[in-house]
Symmetry: C2
Subunit: 365 residues, 2 copies
């Protein structure tokens, strides 16, 4: 087991990473002080892991809520269901929510924990690669609005994160690949050596080699924890973690949140962002091709069919990251080095988006 700490003063918390952690009852018990626990999970994860988490906490006042699976349920209605459950249980402000599942469960249960009685504890037990490397770390919680993703939420740090790498064995290959999109992102924005290691090791990760997975997850959490420690509320540096997300969120929303997994949309978005960087002369064109290659080898889509350039551009204007200065984008000035800057001339954006919508990856290059 590897343990990192996210350094946030009084709100610091540990991230534990390793195989079989869900069977470690002492680890689970020690992570939560509260006597009242509500486990929030979904219909896919519950049959696999709910029993072992319930068993670890069997000495406490325990309720479990099993929600339907899917990004389309990350909404205000599900949020209200969690609150209703807490109230029906008579839970107090020193209760704790345990988020057992992927990013949807973590974001949703985390926002409920942030808002119930203006904030109670929550424990993240991410069971997808995406959640283990990204969404469970850093305290961003949210639900979607029908018109835009993550529009309603809070910054609310968990009391701990427990990432059991063995849960990835039950992950469908498509979900594993979606998580790899965020893994690759961490290399692209901050650590060239890690990106290069991924180019060598991507097949090991796809084959679920335990050591490779632990190394990749740990490195991503280290990178993210370091960024969050200096910029918890995304006033500056933390925005770099949104590399590919302005394009990606637009693609995801236009697909109705059901067509693309988050990581898939982000893969296409990263391709567009790398391409934009290359067209601006910031990034070597061959390096932007390395990005597309690695995403493809990870089993990720790098083009989106059936969407129009205009609708993506319109939707990008709605993105949370847009501000008074207009739309801003995270771009690359090298592999492993990102920067936040005002969106370039629209004609360049249009070209980069069009390339990511057209034909095969090869043709688009």
């Amino acid at each position: 087991m590897r343990t990192l700490t996210v350094e946030l003063g009084a709100r610091s918390y540990p991230i534990h990473i390793g195989p079989g952690l869900l069977s470690d009852e002492k680890l689970l018990q020690g992570a939560v002080d509260a006597e009242q626990l509500l486990i929030v999970t979904n219909t896919t994860v519950a049959p696999l892991y709910l029993a072992s988490v319930e068993s670890a906490f069997s000495g406490r006042k325990l309720r479990s809520l099993v929600l339907p699976d899917g990004e389309e349920h990350k909404n205000i209605a599900s949020f209200v269901r969690i609150i209703d459950e807490l109230i029906a249980a008579g839970f107090h402000r020193d209760a704790c929510i345990v988020a057992l599942g992927g990013g949807v469960i973590g974001d949703l249960a985390g926002f409920a924990a942030a808002a119930f009685q203006r904030g109670i504890d929550f424990l993240q037990i991410p069971t997808t690669l995406l959640a283990q490397v990204d969404s469970s770390v850093g305290g961003k919680t949210a639900v979607n609005h029908p018109r835009a993703k993550n529009m309603i939420g809070a910054f609310h740090q968990p009391v701990a994160v427990i990432a059991d790498t063995r849960t990835l064995a039950t992950l469908p290959p498509r979900e594993l690949a979606a998580g790899l999109a965020e893994v690759i992102k961490h290399g692209l924005i901050e650590d060239y050596a890690f990106f290069a290691w991924l180019e060598q090791g991507i097949d090991d990760l796809l084959a679920q080699d335990g050591e490779a997975l632990t190394r990749a997850i740990t490195r991503c959490c280290e990178i993210k924890a370091g960024i969050v420690a200096v910029d918890e509320r995304e006033q500056g540096r933390r925005a770099l973690l949104n590399f590919g997300h302005t394009f990606g969120h637009a693609i995801e929303a236009l697909g109705g949140y059901g067509m693309w997994l988050h990581g898939e949309a982000i893969a296409i978005g990263m391709r567009m962002a790398a391409d934009t960087s290359a067209r601006l002369g910031l990034l070597d064109k061959r390096d932007s091709e390395r990005v597309v290659d690695l995403l493809g080898r990870a089993g990720l889509p790098t083009t989106a069919q059936g969407l129009a350039v205009d609708e993506i551009l319109d939707r990008m204007q709605l993105d949370k990251k847009a501000g008074r200065q207009g739309l801003r984008l995270v771009l690359l000035r090298a592999l492993g080095e990102a920067l936040l800057m005002p969106a370039p001339d629209e004609s360049i954006l249009r070209e980069a988006i069009a390339a990511g919508l057209a034909g095969s990856p090869a043709a688009a290059r």
Copy 2:
């Protein structure tokens, strides 16, 4: 105009108090940096004051949302209406919500500001006495759950509070009295001299004497700002501001949030809390009678008919302030001196509640 500062480091903000401030366009303009503003108000306040606030901000991108008036609209549905409006306007994360109205508008609009894109600015323009002395100061925001008040919310500080005492001239007498309940509370928990001044000056306040109002509002804001500065998130001292609220919230909820104004329910709750303090021998019995007297002279109810002791006790167990140690109550050990302690023996609570439910105030003494 008097100006205080709530000292909260980077989140410090000013409270401006005085007559005619809503006509001071420069003050309003200077209070908000944002270019995009959504004014949230209600059908009662809009005809009176919306035009002058809109006029002050006419140079910016401005939308106004007029909600129905009443505590029963402080719910998730109204919260979603505000978010929908922000999204329909295409507003970004550097937009600002202006809360123009009483405590319901402030709490509701404040929670929307806390949650939209995980937090945008908001300006409090309280137009009721209750909001000017209490709910607009300190950053507590929330909506009600059908089963309990303020169950869903956030701590989110405004960028400024502008309290125009002239708005109280249009306040129905019942609402003015409800605000006086919180004014009296500030004296009871922290400042005996202020409580004694209120005993002398209550008629001036009821007659809307400008100087007396400014003095009372300023003193309450000073007391509250001092408490919030040392305990923003209610880990300790801030709980004293809940004097009367555990009883009061139960009474308010059992009336369906439509029967009693918040301040009226709190008045009855303060009577029960003072009575409990006296029955425990903490507070002199004559002092608890002074509390009932002053509340009555302020035009406030001090008894609730039609409720049963059991239902109030049950509902109190649901209160946010209840925690792992069981129910805790704010009681008085003197006029001007409050303390937080575990709820006393149930028989004493039952007697104090029963006295506050029975017959006339005189009989209950």
